[in-house]
């Protein structure tokens, strides 16, 4: 056998027989392709994208209505609606970051936005799935992804309204929307998960856990990416010299005054805190 190997290496250059390196590469690529086709086959996800527009609208509407589901009610999970909701949330976040002139040190705004939204959706779903496994809940990972995704519809609505409506009572509006819309979606998700949990203590624990991470994420999205825009718009409105009627009017034309305005707004915040 070693003689044959030597012959192969010596004849590889002369007669064009592939070398050991290319054989290893071909075999490795074949194995990887087979593994991908076996474990990461796209056909596994195909049934979750077979939906009608009416079903999507129906589910979107019912995601905001806190209703205790019937005991024998079972739903078929799908991933089209949640994916589109997460993409929409990422788009709204990009728009917020642009308005707030938020800067990302290592990366792009789009990358940061996608990471935050998809990371939350998939990460929180896995976390809920792990805790529900411990609490012996009868929910699959796909069902949790489905519910969690549709619950993010409330985040889209709240952030969209909070971005486009700049009133004097910004925080009041946001907190009101946070409680009502975010709370409704959280309660709906909580009820669905609690229905599938048998032990009453685990039921309460899981319900509180799910609603807590849902509400805190909305708070994070607002205060991490929206705060600066509010301070600037407040300060500019109080100055009274630059009329701002709509949020799409960029703050760039007043860049020369921005430094003074921001420093004054910081002084006001310090005074408020004191």
């Amino acid at each position: 056998m070693p003689n044959n190997n030597n012959n192969q290496q010596t004849t590889s250059l002369e007669s064009g027989i592939p070398s050991v390196g290319s054989i290893v590469w071909t075999a490795g690529r074949t194995r990887a392709q087979q593994a991908i086709n076996l474990y990461a086959n796209i056909d596994y996800l195909r049934p979750y994208f077979d939906v009608e527009p009416k079903e999507i609208l129906h589910r979107l509407f019912h995601a905001l209505i806190p209703r205790w589901p019937l005991p024998d009610e079972n739903f078929k999970p799908e991933l089209y609606g949640p994916s589109m909701i997460v993409f929409t949330l990422a788009a709204i976040l990009i728009y917020q970051m642009k308005l707030a002139s938020h800067s990302v040190q290592d990366g792009t705004l789009i990358g940061a936005s996608f990471l935050v939204c998809f990371g939350y959706w998939i990460g929180s779903s896995f976390a809920i799935s792990s805790v529900s496994f411990v609490c012996n809940t009868h929910l699959s990972l796909m069902q949790i992804l489905h519910i969690n995704g549709y619950a993010l519809f409330s985040h889209c609505i709240v952030l969209f309204l909070a971005t486009f409506i700049h009133t004097g009572h910004d925080h009041l509006l946001f907190y009101g929307l946070w409680c009502i819309v975010g709370g409704a979606a959280a309660v709906r998700m909580m009820f669905v998960i609690m229905t599938r949990t048998i032990n009453p203590r685990y039921r309460l624990l899981l319900g509180l856990f799910v609603s807590a991470i849902h509400m805190f994420f909305l708070l994070y999205l607002h205060f991490a990416y929206h705060e600066l825009a509010e301070i600037v718009s407040h300060a500019l409105n109080n100055e009274g010299t630059v009329p701002i009627d709509l949020p799409v009017k960029p703050v760039l034309p007043v860049v020369s005054r921005l430094v003074d305005v921001v420093s004054q707004s910081n002084d006001r915040l310090m005074a408020r805190n004191n």
Binding site: N4, Q8, I17, P18, I23, T26, A27, T30, R31, Q33, Q34, I36, N37, N41, I42, D43, L45, R46, Y48, F49, D50, V51, E52, P53, I56, Y80, S83, M84, F87, T88, A91, I94, Y95, K98, T108, I110, D245, L246, V248, K249, P250
Partner: protein
């Protein structure tokens, strides 16, 4: 459906499976080569051990008619030129102006049914030109966003390619080049919006309304082409929404 890297560039049928061998055996190949060489030998040896290249010239007598006479060589007719054998240059390059014109017309009128000939046509020249014009129009605003345009088109293409392959039926898979082609052609209204924003200063409210109209125009055109080519009946709205998000990002680039 097994995924090959070639599937992105050409659609493959559903049942295609990889059935190649896994291990590579040198000795087998060497033996096959030796057999090939040995098989060819009988044809070189014929009766009387004379080498006769053609089996039809089995004649020991010298036949003068077999000699080559230059006068017997009949040149090709004067009417036939070398160019008849070769396709036209544009056809060879894959640029079909008629298809480009029809596709542009189909994009400009989002409610018209596209022609049968352009339904599965893949063309990258038009999309490339539209993307370049869009990026150049952003230069008029002082924004050098060629990289952003390229990145968004790439990401959007991958996303739409994955989504369409998941949503379409398994026997009608689409290729990535087709997705790029459709998304690129439907960028034309965004190019018009970009130039309009440069030429005219609208009120911000009118700006928003105009932007929404143009985004919907692009999305309806793209979703119409996708659903007709992939036979996705009743799912145009589902395909249009990701297109709205895709072209909305371009609108954001224009506005900000």
């Amino acid at each position: 459906m097994s995924w090959n890297s070639q599937d992105f560039f050409s659609s493959s049928p559903y049942n295609q499976q990889y059935t190649g061998s896994i291990s590579y055996d040198f000795q087998q190949q060497q033996q096959q080569q030796q057999q090939n060489y040995s098989l060819s030998q009988p044809y070189t040896q014929y009766s009387n051990d004379n080498f006769i290249p053609s089996p039809y010239n089995f004649n020991s007598q010298v036949n003068n008619n077999q000699f080559y006479y230059p006068n017997h060589y009949i040149p090709p007719t004067a009417t036939s030129n070398q160019n008849d054998d070769e396709p036209p240059l544009l056809e060879e390059l894959g640029i079909n102006f008629d298809h480009i014109f029809k596709k542009t017309k189909s994009v400009l009128n989002p409610f018209a049914i596209p022609d049968l000939s352009i339904r599965d046509d893949i063309d990258l020249a038009g999309p490339l030109i539209f993307c370049l014009i869009f990026a150049f129009s952003l230069l008029l605003f002082g924004k050098i966003h060629f990289g952003y345009v390229y990145g968004i088109v790439t990401l959007g293409t991958f996303g739409m390619y994955g989504l369409l392959n998941l949503m379409a039926s398994s026997d009608k898979s689409c290729s990535g080049l087709f997705v790029i082609s459709v998304l690129g052609y439907c960028l034309l209204p965004m190019v018009i919006l970009s130039f309009l924003s440069f030429l005219f200063k609208f009120n911000s409210f009118i700006n928003i309304i105009l932007t929404i109209i143009f985004i919907l125009w692009c999305s309806i055109s793209a979703s119409k082409l996708f659903t007709i080519s992939l036979a996705m009946i009743g799912q145009q709205l589902l395909v249009a929404y990701p297109c709205v998000l895709f072209y909305g990002v371009f609108a954001l680039l224009t506005m900000f």
